[in-house]
Point group: C3
């Protein structure tokens, strides 16, 4: 009776970075998910007739260096719904439709080593990134010809009002003749602050384009990030992130990727503007359709003596950091 | 070499309830498991010859709105044993044989939205329910013709004596010609209280009947709940729960269910007697053998200005609560 | 596209031990993994051509009496790598190659009930055991004819120097004509203690032999354990563990096993030398290739009025302990 598919992606590498602690030293470490987050899961669908399908997915991240789960058991995907010619509608926990859109416009495909497309480095007052998944989610994805569109809502589930803690995201993308363009928008609400009657409002939008011709592919994206505080006299958190990159396939099983990510930090005190930039290069060699070897290297630096780092998760300890990683990824 | 089956049940809905907080307001939320708890697992058996089989099961609950596991990884089922003509004997963690019996006599099938058959609402001094699963379990299930019977023990594993923290449950059920009857009994021990030499003793019994004819099915059950405290001068906790219901299938893929649950709370101070009652109605539409859509609504109220709520897990904030949920369930 | 295998081992038993608490009493309990730790997982490989394979494994332990995971989700195995005629190289989390070697030289196969081959009892100043698995692991296993060898490193990932918290292990084994011999060595580092410039260094080696002829198999192993403290004036922790055993198969589906484990504790105060010894006997009856029944019994005692116990995990409460367990194990 079962048509469930067991699947996963297992990615491990060895990374060396400098400036890994306040003592100024570097470190060499085993890393889970250098190119993509290690994961495992179940997915399936059932044909209900008339072009309708029931669909479900359960997927969790794995920290391969310790064997721990990456936060919750099925935090990447835990949803069920229906799919037809009209699109796909699921409820539960999932990535947003904005995530599904933006990942295709990152030359590095959100690689933990190295990309600032989901967020900037975990250094400074904010990561200036976007919200990749929602709890309490209802998600619609559809397409009409070359046009794709989607909308995601994460219910706030607050008894103080439906808008408190509510998260919404929407997106459109168009592709034809090797050209792709997309635009996304999202709004993440906090709860009302009694003293002001206002709530934290985080608004992020992206616009991006890509172009593919022969063995070449090019990308360029702009993200605008703004958080307006519900508390009085709390300054807005603002930044504009720009990235661009190129991938070249000199032969079918080799991909060379270069990318630059730059964050223009705004609304901070004069002379405290980190404006970090990261340069990335990656060599990817496919041993098969399901197994790759890769080497990636990156260099990040900040202005004005501010700290920065390569990582979206670990804070940096110096005004620059360089890293190199070699690894293997297998998909099943 | 492997004959394991991967299986699951994924159920998500959107629910609106009133009186969801002390502020009196309602809330709309994404709910995991409106009709049945979302779950995933592995099960299998091996033919050992001579009518004997080795059997095992691993099953865990999923909170679909966040992707978290529902308490322990395989808390629903984690057991291994043997099955033959003489019955089935397993050890580990599982539901009790009483659970396996009573679920068939609940018109709502223990639906989180909405049934008080496993326990009453999480409001007031007790839920007046029964213990659905045991740790440290040994479980026997058997049948002789139309008669089914079972016994379950959860070892207390206390060095102060085998009876401390011991849990035992037993049951019989008979069905023929559309008529079913059952009776169950269970005793959940605490540890001896040194001052009195007594221990908390919780005793729960059920008797129930069901009748099925054509598109109709009817149920009626009585549960008696009593906890005698091991401490001196601590009053007994007592209640009698009664439920009844009807299911009607106007066509093969539609089931209409109505149910009423009422708890007669005993041994509380005069005028503090909540005696909550819940009325439930559900429409279930089968898209296939493995996928259903459903809408359910319920209303609960308490007497004497006491608080109550629909939920077995979340305390109520008013003397009544109404809820409505629409959802989808897929089994694989 | 998927060639993943779902597999597991589910083992449950009922055990009685005496001296289970400070009150002197015994206890009867449901035990997960009497003969081997209960586990579940996924493994697979992909043929990459030219004798090369991509390999991965995810495996976690299960506490069957409660349904909980045994520490981290996939703490037993979470790794990916390559395998060829040159051997197998994986990165992530795994057992060490020393573990893979020593397990074949324990008559009880590291059975939780009962073996002191991974470590001695959890009673006294140390278990005097070895480190079965490493985080941040890189593991190489190879063979040349009848010779097997391996090396495992667990990166320390400290910015204070590559040797801080580093773990390394290596091993060789040779087998021919029913005779097997092995030797292993491992070094587990702590971090540098600033006051002395030294770090804790734990060094463990094993040498062992086995001989198989007809229905008989014999084993003998010596383990030397030594921890030199990084702090000043802290005495070394030292012990030599010796074990030996015999297995006899009177018929193909029955295995009788006897084993003795003895720990010679060194470098403790005069008259405080526990030197515990454990005697074990097991009857194992195979219902099939994948399902066994077993009964095991053991007795442990210590010298000089010191406490000891059978368990590697639970501390003992008396100078001796006896236990008996009966259980079932199924593999899928």
């Amino acid at each position: 009776e079962s048509n469930v598919q067991v699947y996963g992606l297992i990615d491990a590498g060895v990374e060396n970075v400098n400036h890994a602690a306040a003592n100024g030293n570097g470190v060499t470490r085993v890393v889970s998910g250098g190119m993509n987050t290690s994961r495992w899961g179940f997915r399936g669908s059932e044909d209900l007739g008339g072009g309708l399908k029931a669909v479900f997915q359960l997927e969790g991240g794995i920290l391969l260096d310790t064997g721990n789960m990456d936060t919750a058991l099925f935090r990447r995907q835990a949803n069920v719904g229906l799919e037809g010619e009209w699109g796909r509608l699921v409820a539960g926990r999932s990535f947003t439709t904005v995530y599904d859109t933006v990942i295709a416009y990152d030359p590095m495909g959100f690689a933990p080593s190295y990309s600032w497309a989901t967020s900037g480095p975990a250094t400074g007052p904010s990561k200036y990134g976007f919200t990749t998944g929602f709890d309490n989610l209802i998600k619609y994805s559809g397409s009409t010809g070359n046009l794709k569109y989607g909308a995601t809502i994460g219910l706030g589930e607050q008894t103080t009002g439906a808008a408190d803690s509510r998260k919404v995201a929407g997106n459109v993308a168009y592709s034809a003749n090797g050209l792709g363009v997309m635009a996304t928008w999202e709004r993440i609400n906090g709860n009302v602050v009694p003293a002001t009657g206002n709530r934290d409002e985080n608004t992020v939008w992206h616009v991006g384009a890509s172009y593919e011709t022969g063995p070449w592919k090019l990308w360029g994206v702009v993200r605008d990030f703004k958080t307006v505080a519900g508390k009085a006299a709390t300054p807005d958190v603002k930044a504009t992130t720009v990235w661009g990159g190129v991938a070249y396939k000199p032969q079918p099983n080799v991909t060379l990727t270069g990318a630059i990510y730059r964050i223009d930090v705004k609304n901070v005190a004069a002379g405290k503007d980190a404006d970090p930039i990261m340069y990335v290069a990656r060599y990817r060699y496919a041993l098969s359709k399901r197994t790759d070897l890769y080497v990636a290297t990156a260099y990040a630096k900040a202005k004005n003596g501010q700290l920065t780092g390569l990582s979206r998760d670990d804070a940096g300890f110096d005004t620059s950091q360089r890293g190199v990683i070699g690894g293997i990824q297998h998909r099943f």
